[in-house]
C-alpha cells in the first residue's frame, strides 16, 4: 500500500516538474473527462464499429436450435397467393403448427386491420345478392374469428410496433414483476403503438413489443423491455420464453443506476441500463427457415416443430425490410428475433458492463501518461515497439474478453487516444527539433562566417608579414658584389621566423636571421616588432661607427622593454663589408651557420655572442669576425631546418644538412642552394605536418 502511495507521489511530482508535459497531461485529462461523459464526437460510431469487428472476428456459434422460422416465402406466396392472405388461411397454418405441439408460436407480423375477405365482408361488394344468402353467409364465422379461435388454442404471442409520436394508446401486456425501483422511466418509451385487431389481441395469451433499434439500416441492439404509454411490455423473444416456461409474469430487475436484467423465474438476462441488449449475431442460416407452404401441405415432419419456439414471418422481398446485422449481412427481421432466442438459450448474450467506461478511461489515462511522461525519456525506436505491442495487446484483450465473457469493452478509443497522443508528441518533438536544428544551422553558419573571416584576416596578416620581409634576390639584383637570397616557409599561416637585409651605407650590407620562441600569432607579432626595432636601431645615425655587438645590445634593450609574455628571439646578425669581404657578426643563441664551398666539407661559423635577444635586458653581446672568400656560401638557417620531422619522428638533423651542403657546385648561386635545400627537406618530411618555420638565407661575397 505504501509502495503504491509512493509511486503515485513520484508520478505526481514528475508531472508537476515536467513543464514540458503539462499540455500533454492536461489534454489527456480533458479527453478522459469527455470520454466519461460520452461527449467525444464520433466516439460512439467508432465504438460500435469496433464491436461489429469483434462480432465479425468471432461470430456466434449456434449451439442449440430452439427456434424455427415458419417463412411465408416466395414459394408460399406463389402457391397460396399474394400477401395479405385471408386470415382463414393463416388460421389453417396456425392450426397445423399447433397440432405439432410447439413450445410457443409468435407472429412477427402485425395485423392491424380487419380482414376484408371474410365471407360477410365480401357480401357488401356483391351487387344484387339475395338477402337470405347474405344472412346464411354472414352466419359463417369471419376469418378473424377463425384465426382468433386458433390463437386461443395454444401459446401464441402477438406483437406491437412502438410508435414515437401519436397519442397514448392502451396495449395488452403480461404482468410485470419489478424488483427495485420502478423501471418504467428507465426503459425505451413509445407514446403509442401499431397493434393488431382487437379480436385477435384478446385471444392471444402472449403480448410483446416487436421494435428493434435500427441505426442506419443496421440492427445492433434490441430492447428486451419497453413501455408503450403507461404499459411495460416484454420483447418478442422474452415473451415466447415466458409462455414456453409457463411463467405468469416477467421480471424486470433494476437499481438506481438503471435496469440490470430482465427475465422470468430461473432465467435472468443481463441488459444495458435502458433494458436493451446487444445482439450476438451468428451468420444467416437457411436451415432456420421452413417454408409455410410445406406446413400447409402437411408435408412436414412434426419433429421439426415439436417443443420448438416457432416464429412466423416473411422473407419475401418487397414485403419486409431487410435490416443489416453487425456481420454486415442483410437478413429478414424475423431471423434477428430467432438469433436473440438462440443466444438467450445458449447463455451467450452480450453485455457492455457498467464498469467498461471506467476501465476504458483507466486505460486511456495509463496510455496517455505513458506517452506524456515515459516516452520522452526513451529512445524513439523503443516507442514504436511499445506502440505496436500495446495496440496489439489492447486489440487482443478486447477480442478475448468478447469471446470468453461475452462482454463489450471498447479498446478502440484508448488505442486511438494512444496513437493520437503519440502522434501529437511526435509532431511536437519534430517541430522542436526543427527549431533546434534551425538554431544549430544558424550557429554553424555564423561560425563558418567567423572562421572564414578569421581565415581572411590570417591571410591578410600573412601577406602583411611576408610583405615586410625584403625580397633579397630582387633588392640586390643590381649589387654585383654580393649574391644573396632568403626564404621563409611558415609552419602555420603566420610564422615566428624572420630575416632582414639592407645596405647600411654604400659598402656595408646589414643582414639578420631570427627565430622567435613559439609559433602562430604571438610569435609573429613579436617577430615584426623585433625586426622593426632591430632595423631602426641599426639605421640610427650614431650607430654607423659602432660594431654589431653594440647594435645588438641596443636592440636587445629596446626589444626587451615591453615583453610581458617573456618571448625571446634567437638571431644571427651580421655586417658584411663588400669591399673586403670581412664579416662582423653576432650570434645571439642561434643555430651556428655553415660555410659551404664546392669541393669542400662545410665549416661551422662558431662564434657565440650571448643568449637570445630579449632574455636578459642588459647584456654585452660580443662581436666576432670572419673573412669570407669568394668561393664560400654563407648559409644561415633556423632550427626549422635541422628539426624538421618526418612521419617516423626522425629529425632531419644537422649532419644531413652538412652532408647536403657538401655537394654544392661551383656554378651554383644562393637562390639555387636554397631551393635545393628546401626540396630535400620537403622530400624528407614528406606527408608529415611541418613542426616549425623553415628559414634559410644564403650570402656569397663576390670580390
Amino acid at each position: 500500500m505504501v509502495y503504491y502511495a509512493m509511486l503515485a507521489k513520484t508520478l505526481v511530482s514528475k508531472i508537476l516538474h515536467s513543464v514540458r508535459s503539462w499540455p500533454a497531461v492536461s489534454g489527456l485529462l480533458l479527453l478522459v473527462t469527455l470520454h466519461l461523459f460520452g461527449a467525444i464526437p464520433y466516439q460512439e460510431t467508432l465504438r460500435t464499429f469496433s464491436f461489429d469487428l469483434y462480432q465479425m472476428a468471432f461470430p456466434r456459434e449456434r449451439v442449440s436450435a430452439p427456434v424455427v422460422i415458419v417463412d411465408i416465402d416466395e414459394e408460399s406466396l406463389k402457391k397460396y397467393g399474394q400477401w395479405p392472405w385471408p386470415r382463414s388461411l393463416v388460421a389453417q397454418l396456425l392450426s397445423r403448427l399447433l397440432d405439432m405441439d410447439p413450445a410457443a408460436v409468435a407472429f412477427d407480423i402485425i395485423m392491424p386491420e380487419p380482414d376484408r375477405t371474410s365471407p360477410c365482408q365480401i357480401t357488401k361488394y356483391m351487387h344484387g345478392i339475395d338477402q337470405a344468402l347474405v344472412a346464411k353467409v354472414c352466419a359463417l364465422p369471419g376469418n378473424d374469428a377463425l384465426l382468433a379461435e386458433e390463437i386461443s388454442r395454444g401459446n401464441v404471442v402477438l406483437g406491437v410496433a412502438g410508435i414515437e409520436q401519436g397519442s397514448q394508446h392502451e396495449v395488452r401486456a403480461p404482468p410485470m414483476q419489478s424488483i427495485g425501483p420502478d423501471p418504467k422511466n428507465l426503459m425505451r418509451h413509445f407514446n403509442s403503438a401499431l397493434s393488431n385487431v382487437a379480436e385477435l389481441d384478446a385471444a392471444a395469451n402472449g403480448h410483446a413489443i416487436l421494435s428493434a433499434d435500427v441505426e442506419r439500416g443496421v440492427v445492433r441492439k434490441i430492447p428486451l423491455t419497453a413501455s408503450v404509454g403507461n404499459t411495460v411490455l416484454p420483447a418478442l423473444s422474452l415473451e415466447m420464453l415466458r409462455l414456453a416456461s409457463g411463467n405468469p409474469s416477467f421480471i424486470v430487475k433494476s437499481s438506481d443506476r438503471g435496469i440490470e436484467s430482465v427475465g422470468v423465474k430461473d432465467l435472468s438476462i443481463p441488459t444495458q441500463a435502458d433494458g436493451s441488449i446487444w445482439v450476438h449475431f451468428s451468420p444467416h442460416d437457411p436451415t432456420r427457415f421452413i417454408s409455410a407452404a410445406l406446413i400447409l401441405e402437411g408435408k412436414l415432419d412434426a419433429e421439426l416443430i415439436n417443443r420448438k419456439l416457432v416464429l412466423i414471418g416473411f422473407s419475401g422481398l418487397g414485403l419486409v425490410d431487410f435490416p443489416s446485422t453487425a456481420l454486415g449481412e442483410r437478413v429478414p427481421g424475423v431471423e434477428i428475433h430467432a438469433q436473440i432466442l438462440e443466444s438467450i438459450f445458449d447463455g451467450t448474450t452480450l453485455q457492455r458492463p457498467e464498469w467498461a467506461l471506467w476501465a476504458e478511461a483507466g486505460l486511456m489515462v495509463v496510455l496517455g501518461l505513458l506517452v506524456a511522461l515515459v516516452f520522452p525519456r526513451m529512445k524513439a525506436s523503443l516507442h514504436v515497439v511499445i506502440l505496436l505491442a500495446a495496440t496489439a495487446a489492447l486489440i487482443a484483450g478486447g477480442l478475448l474478453i468478447f469471446r470468453q465473457y461475452h462482454l463489450l469493452v471498447d479498446v478502440a478509443s484508448p488505442t486511438l487516444l494512444f496513437i493520437v497522443m503519440y502522434g501529437a508528441t511526435l509532431a511536437d518533438s519534430l517541430i522542436r527539433e526543427e527549431v533546434q536544428l534551425k538554431a544549430l544551422e544558424d550557429d554553424l553558419r555564423k561560425q563558418r562566417e567567423q572562421a572564414a573571416k578569421a581565415q581572411g584576416e590570417m591571410e591578410a596578416a600573412m601577406r602583411f608579414q611576408m610583405g615586410i620581409l625584403p625580397n633579397a634576390s630582387l633588392t640586390f639584383r643590381n649589387e654585383h658584389r654580393v649574391d644573396i637570397a632568403a626564404k621563409i616557409e611558415p609552419a602555420k599561416m603566420v610564422g615566428g621566423d624572420l630575416y632582414d637585409c639592407f645596405m647600411l651605407d654604400e659598402h656595408r650590407l646589414f643582414f639578420s636571421v631570427g627565430d622567435v620562441c613559439g609559433k602562430g600569432i604571438p610569435a609573429s607579432l613579436f617577430m615584426v616588432i623585433s625586426k622593426t626595432l632591430c632595423k631602426s636601431v641599426a639605421m640610427q645615425d650614431d650607430m654607423q661607427q659602432m660594431d654589431v655587438g653594440d647594435i645588438v645590445r641596443k636592440a636587445n634593450l629596446e626589444i626587451s622593454r615591453d615583453n610581458s609574455e617573456m618571448l625571446f628571439v634567437t638571431a644571427f646578425i651580421g655586417i658584411l663589408d663588400l669591399r673586403t669581404g670581412v664579416l662582423n657578426y653576432c650570434n645571439a643563441g642561434h643555430e651556428k651557420p655553415l660555410l659551404a664551398a664546392a669541393g669542400c666539407h662545410p665549416k661551422e661559423l662558431s662564434g657565440l655572442s650571448g643568449p637570445p635577444i630579449s632574455t636578459w635586458e642588459d647584456f654585452e653581446y660580443k662581436t666576432h669576425s670572419y673573412r669570407l672568400s669568394s668561393q664560400e656560401f654563407l648559409c644561415i638557417f633556423t632550427d626549422g631546418a635541422t628539426e624538421a620531422f618526418n612521419l617516423q619522428q626522425e629529425e632531419f638533423g644537422r649532419p644531413r644538412l652538412i652532408e647536403l651542403l657538401s655537394d654544392v657546385e661551383t656554378e651554383t648561386n644562393a637562390d639555387s642552394i636554397i631551393k635545393n635545400t628546401f626540396l630535400f627537406i620537403h622530400n624528407f618530411v614528406s606527408g608529415a605536418d611541418p613542426s616549425d618555420d623553415l628559414t634559410m638565407m644564403v650570402i656569397k661575397w663576390k670580390s
Partner: protein
C-alpha cells in the same frame, strides 16, 4: 613532467625537475615552479639531471623564473644537465646568463654568495 623541492642548509632551495621540457611538460609544472622560486627565496638550484629533452618553451620557463629571482637580488643556477640538454643551453647562449654547474657543493657555494 614532475617537480619537487628540497630545503638545503642556509636557505638554499633545490628544485628537482624530471621529464621532457616540452610544451606539455612545462604546462604541468609552470605554476608550481613559479611558487617555488617566489619570495622570499633567494638561493635556487635547479637539478636538471632527470631532464632528457629541452625545447625553447623549456628555456623560456627557466628564463622566467631566473629573471624573477634575479630581480629580487637572488641567485638562480642549473645543476648537472644531461649532455644533449647542456648542448642546447650552450648553443642558445643561455649558459651565459644562467650558470651551469655539475657539482652540488660548488653550486651551493655559488648560490650563497
Amino acid at each position: 613532467m614532475n617537480i619537487t623541492e628540497e630545503q638545503l642548509i642556509n636557505d638554499v632551495t633545490k628544485i628537482n625537475l624530471s621529464g621532457r621540457m616540452d610544451i606539455e611538460g612545462v604546462s604541468h609544472i609552470e605554476t608550481q615552479f613559479a611558487d617555488m622560486t617566489a619570495a622570499p627565496r633567494k638561493g635556487i638550484i635547479v637539478d636538471m639531471s632527470d631532464v632528457p629533452y629541452m625545447s625553447s618553451i623549456g628555456i623560456r620557463a627557466l628564463l622566467i623564473n631566473a629573471k624573477a629571482v634575479a630581480k629580487r637580488g637572488g641567485k638562480f643556477i642549473l645543476l648537472n644537465p644531461e649532455q644533449n640538454v647542456k648542448n642546447v643551453l650552450e648553443t642558445s647562449g643561455i649558459d651565459q646568463i644562467i650558470p651551469i654547474y655539475s657539482d652540488l657543493n660548488e653550486a651551493i657555494a655559488k648560490v650563497r654568495v
